[in-house]
Amino acid sequence: MLVTMRRLFRLWFFYGGLDIKWMLRDIGSFAIYAFSDVVNVVAAITAMLLISERFDGVGPWSQTQITFLLGYAVMVNGALDTVFGYNIAFISRRIGRGQLDHILVQPQPMWLTLVTEGFSPCAGLPIFLPGLGLLGWATVQLGIQVTPVWLTFLLFNFLGSCLIVFAVSYVVGSLAFWAPRAAEEINSSSWRLISELRTFPLEGVAPLLLGGLLTAVPIGFVAWYPSRTLLGLEPVAAAAFVTPLVSLVFGAIGLWVFRRGLAHYAHTGSQRYLSYGHRR
């Protein structure tokens, strides 16, 4: 266990260093890259901010609470971009393009590669930090008492939300094991779906649809439900445990589907190879 942890941190340290070197070597490209990411973030949350401004909140959510929700959603996005860059989160691309072989020739368990190879703080932090800023500002404005317990709930809900998005990405992306060409870009679609819907408060949505948005397409757990619990909008305190627990279920499903795909891959391999997007 200790050896694995040491290796994990060593690999994160190395990949983080690689990312920093890339940034320092080509600072101009990095600036453009970071700027375009910030524009992307602003564009993603602007619609909801404007709606909130125009109607002085959305449903039972005040403007500041909406800002909290948006900050949380952007943080989830930023964290995933930070840890799972280089198409680790968009796994359908790696599978569909035949690039999984590059992982298979590395002498370490595959999970270790998947949780480390995409670590790119310079690429992800320009998204994560604005989200953290929004969430921090809203927390202060709302007068939330930031206690160790609240911070712990925030951390676990946040990790749960990240795991849910990541797991959904792998459940959907694993289709590329069976249909590499057709499903190569399927993670782009699943990611876009999540990105576009994650900022909506789901109060007032019909129960059947809400059920779907918490199970089949678990948009509700990306930001809405955990924000409700962290803002004290859920009547039961135990609600703070729901997102972390649900994330374990989605994580297990994602693992199961991915492993089935891998077993299939061992027999079929990949008949195509595209270098596009690999390690660049």
């Binding site: 290796r7 060593r10 690999l11 190395f14 690689l18 070197k21 890339w22 080509d26 072989d101 590059h102 298979l104 020739v105 590395q106 002498p107 370490q108 368990p109 590669t113 061992a266 027999h267 079929t268 391999g269 008949q271 190879y273 270098s275 690999h278 390690r279 660049r280």
Partner: protein
């Protein structure tokens, strides 16, 4: 199938690579051109099974360079993928250094090197040096070994001139040298090279081949290299395994192959359009079109001058060309000939596999 025994105990004459009756079958979904067929295919798809390998048995000893040749689609890359743990066989067994490459992947790949000519393991936007550093960390190469091997491959492959350059700025030949160096950093016991010289110019190709030979000579590195370029393989390896339609058509040394099969040559005689093709004793007319007449003859038995003398008495010769029979034709020829004759494949016996203790 797991074994805790140290596979490095498999020394001497025991094969380092052993394939026993390996079949690899792929499934291809067939698509109908008709609407009815398309709809039927939704519910009951028509699956075509393609045998990429058909009962291949092969043994490679430590320190050998084995050329694995065959036309496109013959099964070369499939074999390399099976041997490097990227694919599981449909039937039969694959053992490399005593490992099952798929089931014991992590421990296995730590001891092999793989280079695919059309793929790169290098980080595209980082200097070559960063990729080497990456290999050190991920492969957990001890510092002493890393420093020693880095110096060795830098010298052997001449990497100094572009070691701090990103692969995206390198020529194909430079990138290939860097990839080969990267594959050698952890001192693999066996190197699998799949079309390592594809797309390279003559000079770059020669450099790569020289390096592989040096590695084999100086370090007893076992090499399995695939290519469809027979001349290239002949420079490199003493032994050639030829595969055709998923079966081994020839396994032996190059000299015998040349003597027996590749002595065939092609002679093209050009005459004015409309003149009939000359009849040449000792050569077989294979095509005749618009005054270009192509013959195949055995270069070891028949003199070109004799054929030209015959031709000159029958037609006005405008131009003459001669060249070796293309490798694809040689392989097809060999295979078909043996198939027709019911000939046992020319194979060396596969030695008994040494069984790891414990």
């Amino acid at each position: 199938m797991d074994t805790d025994a140290d596979p490095s105990s498999l020394l001497g004459e025991a094969p380092i690579v052993r394939l026993d009756g390996v079949w690899k079958t792929y499934e291809q979904r067939q698509r109908s051109e008709r609407l009815a067929g398309l709809i039927r295919g939704l519910f009951k798809p028509e699956i075509k099974r393609i045998d990429a390998l058909r009962g291949v048995s092969l043994a490679i000893r430590r320190g050998e360079i084995v050329a694995y040749a065959g036309p496109n689609g013959a099964g070369k890359s499939t074999t390399v993928k099976l041997c490097s743990g990227l694919l599981a066989p449909t039937r039969g067994s694959v053992r490399v250094m005593g490992f099952d490459p798929v089931k014991e992947r992590v421990r296995f790949v730590a001891r092999i090197g793989v280079v695919f000519g059309q793929r790169t393991e290098l980080w595209w936007d980082q200097p070559v040096a960063a990729s080497f550093d990456w290999k050190r960390v991920v492969w957990d190469i001890p510092t002493e070994r890393y420093e020693r091997m880095r110096a060795f491959v830098q010298d052997l492959l001449g990497l100094d001139e572009f070691f701090q350059t990103a692969p995206r700025e390198l020529s194909l030949g430079q990138r290939m040298r860097a990839d080969l160096g990267l594959a050698l950093l952890h001192e693999p016991e066996i190197l699998f090279l799949d079309e390592p010289t594809l797309g390279l110019d003559v000079l770059a190709k020669r450099n790569i081949l020289r390096c592989i030979k040096d590695l084999n000579r100086e370090r007893q590195l076992t090499v399995m290299v695939t290519s469809h370029d027979m001349a290239e393989l002949e420079q490199l390896a003493g032994r050639i395994v030829m595969i055709h339609k998923g079966s081994i058509a020839y396994d032996g040394d190059f000299a015998r192959l040349r003597r027996e099969f590749a002595a065939k040559r092609v002679l093209t005689i050009e005459t004015p359009i409309g003149e009939p093709a000359p009849t040449l004793v000792g050569a077989e007319l294979v095509s005749s079109d618009a005054g270009r007449h192509e013959y195949v003859f055995d270069g070891a038995q028949v003199q070109i001058a004799a054929l030209l003398d015959q031709a000159a008495t029958q037609a006005r010769i405008v131009d003459v060309e001669t060249h070796q029979l293309p490798i694809d034709d040689v392989i097809a020829d060999v295979y078909e000939r043996w198939l027709k004759e019911g000939h046992e494949l020319a194979r060396e016996p596969i030695p008994e596999q040494a069984k790891p203790a414990g």
